[in-house]
């Protein structure tokens, strides 16, 4: 199997797992009393949708549950099948479901939704017309979005004083939604540590794009730091699907790296074993 197809399978697998977790979390969440996001209110934001009876039906509580089930079935099928026609349908449905979730409510949408949507759309186009050029284009697009996301996130933090002096990280860790009491205590008592960590985070983010031009060892270092960064975010901040979604983007990044560096043999050590990607 060529490297391109291996990359495609791995991206599909991680994106599929991420989507399954995403859908199951949405379906199995036990609301304390009732839903915070009521369609009766949310529809006021987009009066044009109210005039569309089908959209209204899709966005009420029952409709959104059905869409989530469709999303779940498509995600599972996208992992287990290799039949292109079915895959086209699955990724189309996944992308459409995500569009409806997003149109129904901008509240609660985050980076992982956006990344899953980008990957699902790219995979849809790949299977719709499965050629080497389309795969190159789709992987390059995912890579450019990934590099831009890190760059803009790092650059925006760099321009904010509260990030540069370390207060922002303390504020996030002290927050009920993303925070962690132990980390908050540590950082609020040692603002210097918070400042250093902040600079490491936005420095790494802002400079991430250079990894694609660096040699293999530097590239692997950047990827490993990224993996650890998202893993830490998942553990400390509860951003579990964020971790999976971004890790799924690393495979197209590796593909673009190999493309730029003339399909160089790609090897690195994991737990003492030499791993080769050729």
């Amino acid at each position: 199997m060529s490297i391109q197809l291996e990359i495609l399978s791995l991206t599909r697998l991680i994106c599929g797992i991420c989507s399954v977790v995403y859908a199951l979390e949405k379906l199995l969440y036990k609301k304390p009393t009732h839903d915070l996001l009521s369609w009766e209110v949310l529809q006021l934001r987009h009066p044009i949708f109210v005039k569309m009876p089908i959209f209204n039906k899709l966005c009420d509580e029952k409709g959104i549950k059905i869409i989530t089930i469709v999303f779940l079935i498509s995600s599972i099928t996208s992992i287990v099948t290799n039949i292109e026609l079915i895959l086209i349908f699955c990724y189309f449905m996944m992308a459409m479901c995500l569009l409806i979730f997003s149109a129904r409510s901008a509240y609660g949408m985050d980076g992982s939704d956006q990344v899953i949507f980008i990957i699902a759309t790219c995979l849809f186009f790949i299977y719709l017309h499965n050629t080497v050029i389309i795969r190159h284009m789709a992987f390059t697009f995912i890579t450019l979005q990934l590099l831009f996301s890190y760059f803009i996130s790092g650059y925006a933090k760099l321009t904010a004083k509260v990030w540069r002096n370390g207060e922002a990280l303390v504020g996030i860790m002290g927050n009920d939604i993303y925070g962690n009491e132990n980390v908050y205590t540590l950082l609020s008592q040692n603002i210097r540590i918070s400042q250093v960590l902040s600079w490491v985070v936005f420095g790494w983010e802002a400079l991430f794009f250079i990894c694609i031009f660096c040699n293999q060892h530097v590239f692997i270092c950047f990827i490993m730091v990224g993996f650890l960064f998202h893993l830490t975010n998942a553990i400390v901040m509860g951003l579990n699907t964020f971790f999976l979604a971004f890790v799924a983007c690393y495979f197209p990044l590796i593909h673009c790296y190999l493309l730029i560096h003339n399909d160089a043999v790609f090897s690195f050590q994991v737990l003492g074993y030499q791993v080769f990607i050729v």
Partner: protein
């Protein structure tokens, strides 16, 4: 390259260009966002340029038909965080939604201090009002009022601050039996 590949190239290029345009200036190109109800253009500015500095709290009190009022109490909308969230985090969407709503409501309340109608007509205000109204199960309740308060998440010793005190909202007609849920929606504007 065939015609299909050119179309896909154009599609990806446009998407990428729009993504870049949205992020400059860094405060966000909201004119572009308004034209994108499906959220196709991603927003990659995680926790910036204005990071989270506050915890938000929704409090509510009821005015009963006998003229008495029930003391303020905090409405627990979001589930507490757990260690397991790293693997399985079903409350993530509700927490993020709550954060987005309260940030928007705080923003509307501070920028439109003298324009009550703008605040009361905002989606964030109506979402919270809808929630507290439906969470209310006191049969004697006639009016309901909610408040949005913030506490600093950087220095937790700092005092909490009142950001918004809602109007009194009639949730039950004194002369009728308890309203159905659809009636409540219509009564918001009374």
């Amino acid at each position: 390259m065939d015609i299909y590949e050119y179309i896909i190239l154009l599609f990806f290029s446009s998407w990428l260009v729009l993504t870049v345009i949205f992020h400059f200036p860094l405060t966000g190109n909201y004119k572009l966002r308004l034209k994108d109800p499906f959220g196709i253009i991603p927003d990659w500015r995680f926790f910036c340029p204005t990071p989270i500095k506050n915890n938000y709290h929704i409090l509510c009190r009821e005015f009963l038909s006998n003229g008495e009022s029930v003391a303020w109490r905090e409405i627990q909308i979001i589930p507490p965080r757990r260690l397991l969230d790293a693997l399985w985090n079903p409350g993530r969407k509700t927490r993020k939604s709550f954060l987005d709503i309260t940030i928007e409501l705080a923003d509307v309340a501070t920028t439109n201090r003298d324009e009550e109608n703008v605040i009361v007509g905002s989606i964030a205000y109506l979402t919270i009002l809808n929630y507290v109204t439906q969470a209310n199960n006191n049969d004697k309740c006639l009016f309901i009022q909610f408040a949005l308060m913030t506490s600093c998440s950087i220095n937790k010793l700092e005092k909490s601050e009142l950001l918004l005190l809602s109007k009194l909202h009639l949730i039950k007609d004194e002369h009728s039996t308890r309203n159905t849920e659809s009636d409540k929606v219509n009564l918001w504007y009374l």
